[in-house]
């Protein structure tokens, strides 16, 4: 496996519900573990007697990975403190780019201003451009491209400082 293939694999797993992947080839072993936060759901959690939809993220195997997980978790906590979340103002399908294949409206790291189109939400064949109401730097994309979103669902995390 070359580096490009590993990159593609990581991207694919990141988008999926898979908790952990292990690949073993001659002279080469690769383990990829999903971060602990759950993939965004459109719908509320099901009632208790139904099985949880996502496989739970596997417990960290050793102390090294434990501290690594804790670090990424606390970095996340610190990060969300001063952040503003752009939430969905409507119900529909969330698209990150104007048409499939075209580049996304915004990426992590981008600086945005009020009025900047950040995504499209499509409902009943109507494509609505959603504009940012805040200024800042995009820190995280919180919803998956081409998935349904509901009212008030978090879409983007923005650092307004």
């Amino acid at each position: 496996m070359d580096f490009k293939q590993i990159q593609e694999l990581i991207k694919m797993i990141n988008k999926s519900n898979i908790g952990e992947v292990s690949i073993e080839e001659k002279g080469f072993k690769l383990t990829i573990k999903q971060k602990e936060e759950a993939v965004q759901h459109v719908f509320s959690t099901p009632p208790p007697q139904y099985p949880v939809q996502l496989p739970p993220a596997p417990a960290p195997a050793g102390s090294a990975s434990a501290s690594a997980n804790e670090k990424s978790k606390s970095a996340q906590d610190v990060a969300t403190d001063n952040m503003v979340t752009i939430k969905s103002p409507m119900i529909g399908t969330f698209y990150r780019s104007p048409t499939p294949g075209k580049p996304s409206f915004i990426e992590v790291g981008d600086e945005i201003t009020e009025g900047k189109v950040v995504c499209i939400i499509e409902a009943m064949k109507l494509f609505n451009e959603i504009e940012s109401e805040i200024k800042g730097r995009v820190v995280k994309i919180l919803a998956e491209d081409a998935t349904p979103v509901e009212y008030d669902q978090p879409l983007f995390l923005v650092d307004p400082s």
């Binding site: 459109v42 009632p47 119900i91 529909g92 409902a123 009943m124 349904p148 509901e150 009212y151």
Partner: protein
Amino acid sequence: MFKKLMIANRGEIALRVIRTCREMGIKTVAVYSTADKDSLHVKFADEAVCIGKPASSDSYLNIPHIMAAAEITNADSIHPGYGFLAENAKFAEICGEHNIKFIGPTPGQIRSMGDKMTAKETMIKAGVPVVPGGESLLSSIGEAKSLAKDVGYPIILKATAGGGGKGMRVVWEESEMDKAYDTAKAEAGASFKNDGIYMEKFVEEPRHIEIQVAGDRYGTVCHLSERDCSIQRRHQKLVEESPSPFMTVELRQKMGEAARKAASAIGYESVGTVEFLVDKHRDFFFMEMNTRIQVEHCVTEEVTNFDLIKEQIKIAAGEAISGQDYEPQGHAIECRINAEDPYSDFRPSPGRITTLHQPGGHGIRVDSHVYAGYTIPPYYDSMIGKIIAVARTREEAINTMSRALSEYVIEGVKTTIPFHQQLMRNEAFQSGNFNTKFLESFKMA
């Protein structure tokens, strides 16, 4: 049969529909405003979609949001419950345009019964007795005065687009007409965006007795007998029962037949209710038809042993009904429990329920969406549950209801439980001798 049904409503009726869908193997989608995030119907449904801010106009009345939610969940049917969009013909139309089955009658049927004047005309043509009055909307005070002389005082002015007691004024003599006419028009305009008013003879001290009907899409119609809903406060029903203590075999037969004629006249397809006013001579008059499932449908369910929501869904799926009429077996009484303070003029009392213990035992059914720890939002109606007592006789049903009400504990908010307890012990209520004016003179002890 439908695979996935979306409930475009909230509270106890949303829960009610979800329960039947579970039994029928239909997947459910709940929609909710941000204020209803912790609501029981959201937890019980298979899927849930947040559709907007707390205000009804932003959420439960927001047709584009509701349709978008149906689209992203691939719902093949929508149950509108009662209130909200349940009798909105435009919404029913839009569902049809999106190939989503609206669980209810056709838009045309909703329209023909939604406008009170048109409904009355349709009934006259069908040979259903109506309250004597004007044939059209009033165009001036002069016209109102001369019509009132013909009809005979007392008369009542009513809003054609109305409901819930708004835009209504009783006029006892001509000197009161000017003021009544102006205020009725103003209230109608403000409440329904339509200030059209018409006049009817005011039936004094009437009983409100309604007939549950059902019709399928093949033209078969039947009735499931009556519910007496005379215990009302400001035209809002508080207690309903079946059979009516005022009913006779002959009256039931006549009213059942009239209700059937009313439903047949419009080819009614779904479950619905034909409301009548009954005077002390047991003469009855068509008041209006409700083209939806009603709050008090449970009363009929308990005395006919039918799941009316299931029947409604089956009819919508194209199943045929037998056409058989049903009479009540035993006696059922329903008390609507509202988060209101009966000692302070029934002022609404939203807030957090700290303790909840629902009654149980033989002959008790509770349809409620609240739970201990639940916060009643201030944005919607104050009904937090319905308690229905079923027994062999009316006396036993009242006894069972009294027993159950004494077990019903709701703390943290004020409720109308004390009112119902006092009503069950009231002699006039126990005698079955009451009409729609009864509560006007009822005082909390």
